[in-house]
Amino acid sequence: MSEEEAYQTVLATLKKEAIYPYTEDEMQVVKSIESCINCGLCIQHCPVVAAVGLDRFSGPRSIAVELSRSPPEYWTTADVVYLCTGCGTCREVCPKDVDIPEIVNLIRARIFKHRPDLMPKQLHTADAIIVEHGLAFVPWEDPEEKAESRDMRLERLGLRYIPDQVVKGADVLFYPGCQAEERAQEVKESAKIILNHFKVKFTLLEELNCCGLPATLLGDDKTALELALKLKKKVKDLGVKMLVTTCAGCTSNLARIAERDAWGIPVYHMLEYLVEEIGIAKLSSAFKQSTEEEPLRVTLHDPCHLIKHTSRITMDYAGQILGLIPGVEVTQSYAHDSCCGGGGLVSYHAGDVARAVMKENLAAIEETGATRVVTPCPLCTAQLEDSLFRQGSSVEVDDMTVFIAQRLPQEG
């Protein structure tokens, strides 16, 4: 038997036994489960367990333990693994740093590759879109319609339009992400207004492509990697010194892949950029010149991808920034840091679970008496807006980038 035949014979047996050898990278992820002492704190803190009960969603520990202990049984987790919103609470509360969100991604990747029949069909649709368009959503067909939609949004918010610019050798690459590019265009525009206000030499991408997070979350690692490499090339070609984004998911994911693929530049969320690079002093004086001074009671919602996947310090920044804005009073919701239900692509196929996760959040928001929720993530904004609207709430939702842009002094 030839070497190749021998190898193929082995693979055939392994396939029959559902043994798909872990690569070294995967082994590092799975290895973190070794530290699990079964304490159950992840289950006690998991927003999905709280929302739908342990029987429906057996919780982070169960997923992690099931896969890692007996990899050939990975496929049996298909009935629970897609209910994880990827919020990262489990990893944060884990006394042993078990990286459960990554393990969830790893299991989904195995199912995607070897048992796609067990994956919710809505996720196949979502994957097809990413593969076809390189974006999380089907893009606007007609650029004029897109511009119209943008202008309507800007008009409603009282924001002016600054034309897109692609500049080689700029300091900052502003990366809006799929949501702000295709749907919540006001977020992208607001970011441009902010960067412009502080006279930042920034550029956009000639053509945006998704950071790959949704592909990772549904298990299509191949597409995720392709998108990441494509993005790296674009970033390198522009020769920027840093990347700034307004999306929480993009922040943590870009930070991850930039490190993994050695981009050599830092990735910031707009909040971090404002506090760490622009500085509190400049921000403060800008807000003082603002004409928008109506007193407003707001409450913050913390996006999981910022607090649990990047750093909790980001929301301290959010608080600091809001504290600088005249007339804004911040009231904290007791559920400010709990998942909005929008993560992990759960809402694509199990809307009831996503809504159940959101339920407590909404009650907590109402309890604050705030008239507006502010959150530094266009996806959380959309999820919150939709849910508050459904339950007939009068509370409004603003993406924080928009909220800030609105409160900068109007420029000629």
């Binding site: 304490c39 704190l41 009960g53 006394p95 996947h309 990047t310 750093s311 980001t314």
Partner: protein, 457 residues
């Protein structure tokens, strides 16, 4: 960005939070790093000060009695260290008792207005009942966990009520264990019955977790059904006391207890349970709220990283988050990273290590443990009143609670340690875990504050 602090507390369990709250009360700019959730959050929520003397088999009537014993027999026990003052030896035990009293009273006062007021004091130990039906001596419990006159009143009758599909608590076996124990000690109650309630927070009566029930009961509307069944069952056996697993709510436990008592006419209380327990989490949340409300900066999801302890002063701590590192400059550090669960202490076949600063570790009997195989610090018997010396290993500290080196000098002049990262006491056997955490957290914080004030002056 960099942060500035007067005091950085590493570790967000009981010891770290006590140290942090105290430091903010003293006007210190305090940053507390909490890596994961702490062992306090796992705990039963009962606060043990000292239940048995080291190696002892007789439950102590009061923590004071135990502290006096420690003062005379175990000077290097963390409680014993409280007695190292300038004063003469005959006041050692008094000094210790007073320091413990101060810390414990302070904690009680701190949590007074919270949703988890504490019951008990160091002048007597309470008999707390567990979900196994066993009884253990403890100092303070959340008011919802106090069994009232159950074990005093000769006519008392207990009803143990569990929840169908909630496997942590089997009321039938708990009632049996409890009654057998009480009878053999000739103590009330005269009768103990059991019942399984059908509470289905999500419609199914299987695979129910404590968090589900607690959250379910946090909703006022859900209490009445429970009350009705409990009343009926209590009347069936003439129960004067109703024991429930600790699931009466995260926010409304006390209100629910009082409401159930009103509705059933019996004394209702929560049993001590195992991790993950609702009362433990209530305690953790109560402490965190006190810290944050007092102006402390709580940085969750970040662990501390030190390159190494090169100088005699710790000036900076790096906080490592999921994707960001923060440098925190500081004037003093309180190390409250816990033992093996918290990760402050780790063990390999090559020895026992401290995980942040790589400080010297010692065994329970203060032998240097940096190269002792963990197995050597265990007994052949799994459960014994002697405990395993392994769980008494950790850091050796000076009377100011500063970790010391092999040369018996402090490792750094502004580095203090508190809680279960310390050596010299065996909390599972002694029942002294949260007590040592409170008192050493309190004292380490005081010393750190004094140090910072001294440097600043």
């Amino acid at each position: 960005m960099d942060l500035e602090a007067d005091i950085v507390v590493i570790g967000g369990g009981m010891a770290g939070l006590v140290a942090g709250i105290r430091a903010t009360e003293e006007g210190m700019k305090t940053v507390l790093l909490r890596k994961g959730q702490s062992a306090t959050a796992y705990s039963s929520g009962a606060i043990d000060i000292i239940g048995y003397l080291p190696g002892g088999t007789v439950p102590l009537g009061s923590p004071v009695e135990g502290l006096q014993g420690i003062a005379s027999m175990f000077p290097f026990h963390p409680y014993g260290l409280l007695g190292f003052t300038d004063a003469t030896s005959d006041t050692v035990s008094k000094t210790i008792v007073e320091k413990v009293r101060t810390a414990v009273s302070w904690l009680k006062a701190t949590l007074l207005g919270s949703s988890i007021p504490l019951f008990g004091d160091i002048d007597s130990n309470l008999d707390a009942v567990t979900v196994l039906g066993t009884v253990k001596p403890t100092c303070m419990i959340q008011e919802t966990m106090w069994p009232g006159s159950l074990m005093l009143d000769a006519d008392s009758v207990a009803l143990f009520a569990g929840v169908r599909g909630f496997p942590v608590f089997n009321p039938r076996m708990a009632a049996q264990v409890f009654l057998e124990h009480q009878i053999s000690n000739r103590l009330p109650p005269r009768k103990a019955g059991h019942h399984v309630l059908d509470l289905a927070p999500f419609g199914n009566n299987y695979n129910i977790s404590s968090i589900e029930i607690a959250r379910y009961l946090d909703n006022e509307d859900n209490l009445s059904v429970l009350a009705k069944t409990l009343k009926k069952q209590a009347e069936r056996i003439g129960a004067t006391h109703i024991a429930l697993p600790p699931v009466l709510g995260f926010n409304r436990a006390r209100e629910n207890q009082l409401a159930l008592q009103d509705l059933t006419g019996a004394h209702v209380f929560e049993l001590l349970s195992f991790p993950p327990s609702v009362p433990g989490l209530r305690l953790q949340r109560g402490l965190e709220t006190a810290f944050v409300n007092g102006g402390g900066t709580l940085l969750v999801g970040h662990h501390a990283k030190m390159e190494s302890l090169e100088s005699n002063i710790v000036k900076e701590v790096t906080a490592v988050g999921p994707r960001r590192n923060l440098k925190i400059s500081t004037k003093a550090v309180v190390l409250a990273t816990g033992k093996f669960i918290g990760g402050g202490i780790t063990g390999t076949e090559n020895g026992i290590r401290e995980s942040v600063f790589d400080l010297m570790t010692v065994s329970e009997s203060f032998r240097i443990a940096t190269s002792i195989t963990p197995q050597k610090l265990t007994n052949t018997i799994a459960l014994t009143h002697m405990g395993h010396p392994l769980f008494g290993s950790g850091l050796s500290v000076d009377p100011q609670f500063r970790p010391i080196t092999a040369e018996e000098v402090h490792a750094a002049e502004n580095l203090y340690a508190a809680g279960s990262v310390l050596a010299g006491y065996n909390y599972p056997a002694e029942k002294s875990g949260l007590g040592v955490a409170i008192v050493t957290g309190y004292m380490a914080s005081r010393n750190a504050v004094d140090y910072v004030k001294g440097v600043s002056a």
